[in-house]
Symmetry: C2
């Protein structure tokens, strides 16, 4: 066994923290710094960290699962339900506008006349990657707001719409599952989530009530197990993203009696280990292929279309639902971020011959730029808000929900150490 | 990317907890249950968990690193120094007796007449694997005792003696580094550890004093980074075990002002994720080769020699240092456990032609049985002790150092939830 993962993880932890503190000094969210840390240390710039470490990839996947699990725990299902209607419209317009925007751009510039191929470029642009937005909103203390809940609801629906769009495209391309099967699977997944929610909360609360007050560690362990299983089941059996399963598990655990305790124990696992690996890994995967002038022009325009189409599409959806212009702006920007789903979709497209190899470079550039600009634009959209208050976040090291308690703990332990030292 | 690691980790977490609770009910340390969980779910019995997952192996390595890091944080360097003298004698006799015991057994039974090969079997028996003992002692609240410190000191010296023995054997076998180089490397490592300790504590305390009270998360992150780097440096540059480096890092962090806070944040990372993976992985790696009657007889005798030689050797060393018979017994038993180092040594031996393939099966059996019996025998050796009190442990879910505070936190958060619910 190679021991390289030890220094790699160490380098990721220290660099994401240092870069995060630097970006914070520039009034930018720390998540921007963490993303830049991965980009700088990865093959794109310094080449210190490898882009193909299976261990880092799997830890990163655990990281994003845990982030979405925590977002689920922080979300009240009633707020999510209330946000569902507007979330639906935001998601639908946020899928349609990029779909046609991307197709239009491809029809205009791409080296193909196949209509299906053009629409496939549009499909790549549909999937929002919400984890970066969640982290940015959390850092700004705005995750538990109407805007935050609408974005979360829209992102879940967006994930489902994205799967449907991909299925339609690939089945039209002559491969993949039938649309009916995919729809049935999604419906089944939603039923399973509801069942898990209703039964899970009851079982957990019964177990919590039954056990002795002192037996505490089993609850975070049980919660983490539920999170991992839901993530796996979503991905493996229902074709839904693992993070959607983890979010559903979080909603369930968040409704149990030990939610606060569980969250406080999941927190160090996130900020001390898994979340930094996830954020850094996004930048680390960037390996740019050689590019021609045509491809560079296409890349720039793809980024512009990707950002504007989501912004406008989702913002429009929010406007129709009666949000203020400011909040429409925020919702639109919050949905701009694209992630690994876009790359997965592009890969699937290549498999069925719908995605030209030359366009992989532009898609990678689109993913990385949309990921980095999202938290920056969100921060600007929230600038000067009085409601803005720093809150518990994966990366921030100033505040924790239990911060006061932590400081007290710390002082108690320091004193204990001193007393022990004196008694020698 | 395959998503199998999600259910694998979930299965490990739930099974180690459930098996641990079962063994606790039988008055046995939970670590025995965690080891059995891996054995039962692994290829040896049910075959549910794979024995060759690189991800699980690396997480397990992180697990044992974090366990030894925590043991270092809990250990006072002055106690360790005091225990050093007796630890040295315990280690020396604990290496010599198994070395000659194993060689004798091999000379008597093994299918070879090469003296060097016989002594190599003895060398395989020399390396103690202290992590299981650390966990068992922690569960029984006896890690921070004179016995606990002597075992820790002896295990560190044992690690170094084991490397020297292996080097002598392989260089006599015509391969490997020269003994002088190895000794110089070990000396250099000790110098580095001392430097890191003296400078590290000062730098950390200066940084802690300089920063604002509220910036807390950076300390556990910095501590974890130091732990990972020391583990890597030990393994990569000095040929010392990674866990020895992690232990040294723990000693250093444990002497800083924020030791208590850092330990409280490392704890969930251990018990919620990494430590169960480590304990389960030991059982999971057991894949028994087909065996003949001769080999089965040899296996049984190898186990007996492995257990008795360490027990007697280390116990004798402790007796000479003036420990009571009871404590000699405990120290001897605490050193019985063998681990992956024995397998690594066996592999190195096979590379230079000193280790017959047929004897790998017996070595594997010796490792797993010595690992499982150590915590059981230790528990029996401590039976009826009034000083025995349950303390913070990786696996135990009843007690934590901060347990009271946790319960208060939990109650506060539960109330907050209730109040929020009412205000709707």
């Amino acid at each position: 066994m190679s021991y390289d993962f030890l220094w790699q993880i160490a380098l990721i932890l220290i660099s994401t923290k240092v870069f995060g503190l630097i970006t914070r000094r520039f009034q930018m969210p720390q998540v921007v710094g963490a993303l830049l840390a991965g980009l700088v240390l990865g093959p794109a710039v310094l080449g210190l960290l490898p882009s193909d470490s299976e261990m880092i990839k799997q830890l990163a996947e655990l990281g994003v699962i845990v982030i979405m699990f925590s977002a689920g725990m922080e979300t009240d299902i009633r707020d999510l339900k209330n946000a569902g209607k507007s979330g639906f419209l935001v998601a639908v317009l946020g899928v349609l506008v990029p779909l046609f925007g991307g197709a239009g751009l491809a029809a205009w510039l791409a080296p193909t006349e196949n209509m299906l191929q053009n629409f496939f470029i549009g499909t790549v642009l549909t999937a929002t990657s919400v984890s970066i937005t969640v982290e940015a909103l959390r850092e700004m203390g705005c995750l538990q707001s109407r805007v935050g809940n609408t974005i979360l609801a829209a992102a879940i629906i967006d994930d489902i719409l994205g799967i449907i769009a991909l299925t339609i495209m690939t089945s039209m391309g002559g491969s993949g599952e039938s649309v009916v099967v995919v729809l049935l699977k999604i419906a089944a997944f939603l039923v399973v989530c509801c069942l898990v929610y209703v039964v899970g909360v009851k079982v957990m609360d019964w177990y919590i009530g039954r056990a002795k007050e002192k037996n505490l560690r089993r609850y975070p362990i049980a919660a983490f197990v539920v999170c991992l299983l839901m993530a796996w089941v979503a991905e493996e059996f229902f074709g839904v993203a693992d993070i959607t399963g983890a979010f559903a598990a979080g909603l369930m655990i968040g409704a149990t009696k030990k939610a606060g305790y569980i969250a406080s124990k999941m927190e160090p696992v996130q900020y001390l280990f898994l979340a930094p690996v996830f954020f850094a890994s996004i930048g680390m995967t960037v390996v740019l292929p050689p590019m021609t002038t045509d491809i560079i022009v296409f890349s720039v325009l793809l980024v512009v279309v990707a950002v504007l189409s989501k912004w406008i599409g989702c913002g429009l959806g929010a406007k129709i639902c009666g949000f203020s212009t400011k909040d429409c702006n925020r919702i639109g920007l919050g949905m701009v971020c694209r992630g690994e789903v876009a790359l997965i979709v592009a890969n699937k497209g290549a498999e069925v011959g719908l995605m030209p190899d030359a366009l992989f470079g532009p898609v990678i550039i689109m993913v990385i730029i949309s990921t980095i600009v999202t938290p920056i634009l969100l921060k600007l959209a929230y600038k000067g808000e009085s409601e803005m208050q720093l809150e518990e976040s994966v990366l921030d090291d100033r505040m924790e929900e239990l911060e006061q308690l932590d400081i007290v703990t710390d002082q108690l332990l320091t004193r204990e150490q001193e007393i022990r030292g004196k008694n020698r």
